[in-house]
Amino acid sequence: MFPYRHGIVLLILAFTAGCSESPWNNPYSAAAATENTLYTSFAERPKHLDPVQSYAENEYAFIANIYQPPLQYHYLKRPYELIPFGAESVPRPVYLDAAGKTLPDSVPAERVAFSEYVIRVRQGVRYQPHPALALDESGKLRYHALSPAELRGIDTLADFRHTGTRELVAGDYVHQIKRLAHPRLHSPILQLMTEYIVGLKEYAAMLAGEAAALPEDKTVDLTRHELAGARIIDRYTYAVRVRGKYPQFAYWLAMPFFAPVPPEADRFYGQPGLAQKNISLDWYPLGTGPYMLTVNNPNRQMVLERNPYYRDQAETYPAEGEPADAASGLLQDAGKTLPFIDKVVFSLEKEQIPYWNKFLQGYYDASGIASDTFDQAVQFSGQGDVTLSDDMIRRGIRLQTSLATSVFYLGFNMRDPVVGNVDGGSGERRRKLRLAISIAVDQEEFISIFRNGRGVPSHGPIPPGIFGHREPDEAGINPYVYEWRNGQPQRKSIEQAKKLLAEAGYPNGRDAKTGEPLLLHLDTTSSGADSKARLDWYIRQFQKLGVQLVIRATDFNRLQDKLRRGTAQLYFLGWNADYPDPENFLFLLHGPQGRARTQGENASNYRNAEYDQLFDRMKHMANGAERQAIIDRMIAILRHDAPWVWSFFPKDYTLHHAWVHNGKPNQIANNGLKYQRLDPALRAVKRREWNPPVVWPLALVTALLVIGTLPAIAAFRRRERSTAVAAQS
């Protein structure tokens, strides 16, 4: 009897202790409360985690922290600067002529036949523990000849009992470059890279031929074939040879496409039976970076844990940054070994409302700000400055803003007979029509109404922070749309736009010859209640000119199809930079890359001979005054021709809790996890403080139910006891 009572007491004590330690609404285990773990989320399961296939931001959130390309971006410095990552130093290209003779660095681009990047790999770097590298007692790879019996009971990578590692060598980087051409992998940059990496096109064709002859369950062995443009020089050195002068290649070397993958990984994952269990490199990465994926359940949670061998690389937190970084505490950890955080838990969170509420409860460490929650998080001061709301300040939340390296625009299809045809006979009239529309669509109002001020009106395609961008001062404004008044750019008046419209042959929005109203069509994927206000706003902007805008809402596929066929008239698009170079924005209007003709990224099908010529010169140049002058001229051409309505550069707002340190938005790199530091003890305290369970409503509801039931019970008893006919008195 006594032990039974004792047990109950213990149980109650344990329960109450548990309640006091961990809030009831804690979605994580109570034991994890003080662990050095960062909590964040993902909204959509990543399609690819294979570095040769992945090309989406939500996928890079994982693999950029797992893989180690030769280069990376400096965490703090702006403009963005490349620094070594897997390589010992940032390689300088050696220019060669067609005969292989070395040329001086100052040689003009047209004389350069090849550029060779010789990359020296860091020594002593080791892969994360992984079954593909596990050795048996005899030193052979343990899991490279799996039988069906051995596969039984294996459902995830964690089911393999043994793991192993090995040192990173130059051959692993070369292997990954070969993987770009693998016929079963669809690398999105293969086509682009075949234009540059010597021999890659022929290599891809040869592999495709070999793969076609193989049975479905067999795949080509890349180690059997050499690639001319990527060769191993010694154990720690390799060279990549690209055609011509292509300075942007260094930026590609900072992307996971060029991260090392050991050939053992391909051999391991290529074994029959593993793909059927969804065990593939596309799902279970194998890298040398600071973190490794230890839980991969994209239906619920993905977990990155510290790669136990990464600290051997002795990478340290940067000691330099922007001038304001020291004052904001971003240099406090200078010189300390990375990474700081042990574990990063990504939980599936598809909807914004639960995410925001859990952030406020302290269960997510950082958050963006959606339109729905903007007023809750941020307020504007009398001077128009953005500050946190009182509630956010009380919670110790910090706000960081940064301009995205992205551009949004309303494009004109230059093949369209009404708005396009810049080189045609009536090109000048149509140019004036485009300019009139560019003035009429008030981007400042759009940013204020629909983006809560989170954006900067654009005067050209290059965002701030990218070489070539000019601040919109008196000399830098778009003179076709803005005037410099009272020390700031002012949008030209609607009267000036109407004048341009009349000169274009549409006085008051009607065709001067036929009297018919001018009808323009905007193809957009926006639909539904949320977009209606935005689209109505656009209609009103065109109405200011008397022009009728017809919205043709369509789905993404149809819009892409129209753009490919060149049949859209006006359309919305945006571009997010691959790398911080003006070429990555100016190519969006490069004639030879017209969407309708070559399926390129120039969706407006804009062509201007001078612009195209300047582009070809500019793309090979190093940043400097000469390059800036060319870019200035190119942008002047674009402003004159107005193939886009220059819309805005988005501004990102990020909120961090007080226990998160070293957060600095980096719009280009995605490997920032290793720099962040946490104070888990403070987080645990705040979580308890913010989430005390409120039990009295439950008691109240129960009491109300009981009270409400009593009359019913009484009525029931009365009815049960009553007789069919009332007794006579």
Binding site: K47, N299, I353, P693, A715
Partner: protein, 325 residues
Amino acid sequence: MTAYIIRRLIYGVFVLIGVNVLTFALFFFVNSPDDVARAQLGAKRVTPEAVEKWKRERGYHKPLFLNEKSTGIGRVTETVFFDKSVRLFAFQFGASDQGRNIGYDISTRMWPSLAVQVPAFVIGLAVYITFALLMAFFRATYIDFWGVVLCVLMMSISALFYIIGGQFIFGKLWNLVPISGYDSGFDAIKFLALPVLIGIISGIGGNARWYRTIFLEEINKDYVRTARAKGLSEVRVLFRHVLQNAMIPILTGVVVVIPLLFMGALITESFFGIPGLGSYTIDAISQQDFAIVRAMVFLGSVLYIIGLILTDISYTLVDPRVRFS
């Protein structure tokens, strides 16, 4: 009965073929194989060659329904439709357009769906029937009147409102349960409590009112009056006689739903971050993964047919007069 079931199963095969044709036609009416390829290959730097290669590898390069270039039976068999449909009937769902094994995904994702759906279904049914019987018992009194008003009010509110409201009140205001998330084993209970509760509450209005109507229809029949005349208590009359006789209309709506519990709840799973088959289907639709959409529609149809057959069988259990012919 065996002959009847076999006959129904054969009918079911024809229904499945029809559903498959419809799904295929509707999907490819909206999306061409090129669109599917582009959706999988991403938005950046997708070349026509890459699209063609992707289609060829996954068999989307063939004609959809009829191969004009082929001869004989090949005109039908060498098509995307034939390739993608035949294996379904052997429950071989193959790989998704992203390359993952669909059968494996279904086998892992059905458990979270069941974990939400089964308790919500069982407890919900008990609550709805009890509430309906209570209203029937107190018919024509203020309890019945306000019960019906409450039901109409509750069925007028959108399910989304219950979810967001529930998350706000129980998760944020009172801090009693996590707002969203999921875990395995016993740890799942704290995540399941709220979606199950909301699933039950959101269904009370419509279901209780429907069952009340069924019970009221039964309650005025002669056998009930006879039972009362025999001196049976009202509780015994309701639970023993009325409930049993009202089972056929109840089973019509209930048994058919049971197999579909596997398929999960679309909005609930999405808002609560529950990794079930409902969110799997929604994701596949948004990512234009035809292989998954086709597999899930096929599975849904199979389960629905099974549900209908089970319903017929259940009639014989509650009403001995029902015979299969």
